[in-house]
Assembly symmetry: C2
Homo-oligomer: 195 residues x 2
DNA sequence: AGACTTTCTTAAGGTACCTTAAGATTTAAG
DNA sequence: CTTAAATCTTAAGGTACCTTAAGAAAGTCT
């Protein structure tokens, strides 16, 4: 039995909502498969993000670059996650961020217009995405709170226990960037923790 | 001509969407007026937030308290803003935050069930709140980015130019809390900037 | 007006985290 | 297998921001 990207997507939806047979094929028809090479950039600053994208295979990151050309990672994504610059997607304004494949990846994309059609045809899908947006808000708020009130070490330990799978497949300097610290300081911290 | 809280609310909606006469009275009927004394707490940790609330008069803050009993302000709100713990409201889970009146305030509240009824009756209202949620997400993301990549001084100057009205009516130690620094450090910074 | 509470400032000493620079290790590419 | 590229570590010196503690200033209540 061969695993098909779109079947995986349907299973993913069905963890939250239920879909009838005809709805399933409708959903499948609206998504397109896209392959990304390692380091390929999906969204550049200045682009308007017009698609929602689901990761079938691989690993991506969402980051922005500050005035001093330093990168700050906002989010990682791996299998079964959605990645996007939601800001740009929701407001239809140019992104200030990059979305880039960290590994060779396969994603499923749906255009905003196409998704809106789906919303009209399948209310459960609209519900699904509403819940996704809520979750995105919630996890962003957790991040804000953490950044304001915890030390780098606390944040690192939390990251490690929460995202062990991610920690093991992305370079450490990216984790440092996500945590808001330098790779050197992360390295020193790890040494200290190991003892 | 006396200013009525509910009329102000309707004007606020009409900056974004348009409402017919019958819709206006429908909306007005769903909101309740509530007065808050200075320092009165509207949402306690553990409460589930079941209302959206619009500030007609006054000033509120949304903060949470960490393990060391330090307060971290997430948001301020003044006239014509909405305040809430959106996290709790959206997920119907107990809040981890406080929402408190900084000044004597008058707010307009609508219960989630009541708002959902309104959504069925007036699609423009649903649209209004969808846009609000998007904006909340966007500004939260701006905050996360700022906190990760800017110094306290940069954040303070930005806060000052963006929220001059708020800066002038809340105590400085609360601004420090919002910026994620100590009041002592803010005081020192201000002295330095003034020169 | 006087007393209490809240808010703001000053200062000294400390810590978390940064910068720079170089070398060590691992991974990728021919 | 060899070399280059990417990643991780170490170390020294620096800076942003914190802690504690105390006093000054402003606001509130009777």
């Amino acid at each position: 039995m061969i695993e098909n990207p779109k079947d995986v997507l349907i299973l993913h939806f069905q963890e939250t909502i239920s879909l009838k047979e005809n709805e399933i094929s409708l959903v499948k028809n609206h998504f397109k498969i896209k392959e990304l090479k390692k380091k390929e950039i999906l969204i550049f600053p200045g682009d308007v993000s017009n698609h929602m994208q689901f990761i079938y295979k691989g690993c991506l990151r969402n980051y922005y670059m500050d005035q001093e050309a330093k990168e700050h990672i906002l989010q990682f994504g791996i299998e079964n996650w959605w990645v996007n610059d939601l800001y740009s997607y929701l407001t239809k304004t140019p992104s200030k961020q990059f979305v880039q494949a960290i590994e060779k990846s396969i994603i499923l994309q749906i255009h905003r217009d196409s998704l809106n059609e789906l919303f009209d045809q399948i209310p459960a899908i609209e519900r699904f995405f509403r819940l996704k947006f809520e979750k995105a808000y919630v996890s962003l708020q957790d991040r804000t709170i953490n950044t304001l009130s915890k030390t780098a070490e606390e944040r690192y330990l939390e990251f490690r226990s929460q995202y062990r799978d991610i920690e093991q497949r992305v370079p450490q300097y990216m984790i440092a960037s996500y945590l808001g610290i330098t790779p050197e300081f992360l390295s020193a911290m790890r040494k200290k923790i190991a003892k």
